[in-house]
Amino acid sequence: MTTAIEAHGVAKSYGSLVAVENLTFTVEPGEVLGVLGPNGAGKTTAIRVLTTILSPTHGSFSVAGIPHTRPAAIRRAVGVLPESAGYPERQTGEEYLRFHARLFGHSRPSARSVARTLLEDVGLAERATSLIASYSRGMRQRLGIARALVNDPRVVFLDEPTLGLDPAGQRQILGNVRGIASERGAAVLLCSHLLAEVEENCSRVLILNRGHVAAAGTVAEIVRQAAAPRTARLQVAAEHMEHAVAVLTGASGVDDVHRPDGRAGWLKVVFSRAEEGDGQLNLAVRVLLDAGVELRAFELEGARLSDAFLAMTEAD
Amino acid sequence: MRLRVVLGLALVAAMLVPTATAAGVEDVSVAVAPERIATTLGGKFSFTSTISNDGATEARGLIAHLNVLSLRNGTYVDPEDWSTNRTRYLQPIAAGESTTITWRMQAVNDGDFGIYVAVLPEDGSPVPPVTGPTIHLDVAERKTLNAGGIVPLVLGIPAALGILALAVRLRRRG
């Protein structure tokens, strides 16, 4: 099976300003790759280069097996939801999709059929004949996703698809995203600054920072790579609280101990490095027991992508 | 001596024999048809003028020119408004031959008018032009515009467009 996206050393500069540099990665069909990065990291530029809106300064890439030297062919094979996509207010949702379907080569009857099907898929069938001016933000995003699918693409690029949506809207959009990959077998490149969203929906992650690839891999790999600290919450008897804090503060492998707000009787312990297994938690428990502290419960929190993200992007 | 006499006689003969030059306009005559035309204001009409060379030599370098004037005092006539091609440069006319020109005009004023064609030499020599007979043109007045009739258009067209624009807007909103 042809690799969906293959980028080798892709770079984009505007004069002396380097927007993206040495972008190298692959995406397989059916995979959802999350692209993370702070503002100005180069995420949107990267998408615009890969979708042929911008031409690369250096490097090469292929999308759906089509080399970057054939931009029109690439555009036929991809669907894109740009971050700042605007919509023609005086068109209805159905008109909008029919128009774009025809731009991708559908005949009139076929375009009509595709538009209706996609509107149903994204939950806009009842508002098909309403003007886009009357659509909410969430509806517009869904319309945008529908538009990205008019040509049944092999690769879909979604730039901040949940931006400005409430949690319910976000859930709905992310459901659509998962469906694109699983039901259509298309590769999805999902740009987002919402770490939880990427963590839950992406099989692999690419972190960009200042135009460079700061990290790439599965969530677990990236967390390990960043050596993000892990945390645990321990419930101790109230009379032992002060003693427990003192004992743990001096323990090896413990970076920080404090009482979290809103949880009386609990201590939050931050360990200094992530390791396989629960070794550090075991060590902390033994220290407490040896000190005669009554331990009532404990919770170990895995290192989060958000921790790795902050660690990698703040380090540069 | 004899040679001087011969040369002198030749010089006199040259001066006496009429030459075929632009100055031969006096041997030309002009006839027009018809000599009376009636039309209404704005009407287009035409007439012909036949220029004949009645002389013994070829007539060349002649210009035929058309003029229009009002036979009633007080009516301003600009001949350029009546015809766009009032001056015709004639081809040489052989002795005894003639050439016919058709003049097309439009009556831009109403009233009584005279039209004539004058033939004169193109070298501008001070000889009287030869003119043809005056054509009497009678142009009847005609009402060319009913001013009040424009009101339905001025009101109706914008109204129709305005209603259409409103209908389309309401339909799209619905």
């Binding site: 809106i53 094979a77 731009l103 | -």
Partner: protein, 273 residues
Amino acid sequence: MTELVETRDRARGERSAPGWLVVLGQELRDLWLGGRGLVLSFAFSLLVGIIAYLVATNTDLNFLEQRESTSLTLQVAVAIGGMLTLLVAADAVSGERERGTLETLLLTPVSRRELATGKLLASLSLWFAAFIITVPYVWFLGNGVGIVDEALVAGLAVGTLVAVFLASLGLLVSCFAGSNRVSLSLSLFVLLALVAPTQLPAGAQQAWAGDLLLRVNPLTAGERYVSKIVVSGHDWSEDLSWLLSPVIGAVVFALAAILVGGRYIRLRGGVSG
């Protein structure tokens, strides 16, 4: 996938239209069903109607003045109709940029030249609508003096050439302008500059420099040609030299708008992509 879409459609006997035609169709729908075209046409009809009314109700109007009135009405239609076309074309690309809808258009397989072609042709619809609105007035004013046919044919020919020139100019400006406001302002400024020579005193217009200025300017040259046909009653072929700049302007600028301007339809105006 689009190849598969097209293959399937062809098997059913359905044909997909060329990109420029799809763009043209949608632009026309947006312009006329969206209401903007009708509003502009309504405003145009008011203006032409007022002018026609004022000239028609002049009771001292003689035959020649009636011809001049017919010519004036046509010239107003050409100038204002051309201006409407210019304004729509000047919004064609820079407006899409500002509304955020350009990026999705650039993400389709339709080439930028096809985008430019479709938008250029759609903007010309304003001129044709303006002409159709003007026809009854020209008929009313010119019928009594027998000049309707010549006036309408001359007006349509010259007006179309001028409209193509102005629309192409507007589209070119729109491709390069950094913002829609700049595009519209610059286009209007150019139009005013084109109209300015008509305000020269008669003597200056007849001098060689004034005459040259009027001839090289497609707008003034076209209007002069219409005047010669309608007012002076000249034949078509008598003053063809006045048609030279409208024809050249229309052809050159249309090609420039599609071939050159099309290349510069980018996300950011005037910035190399």
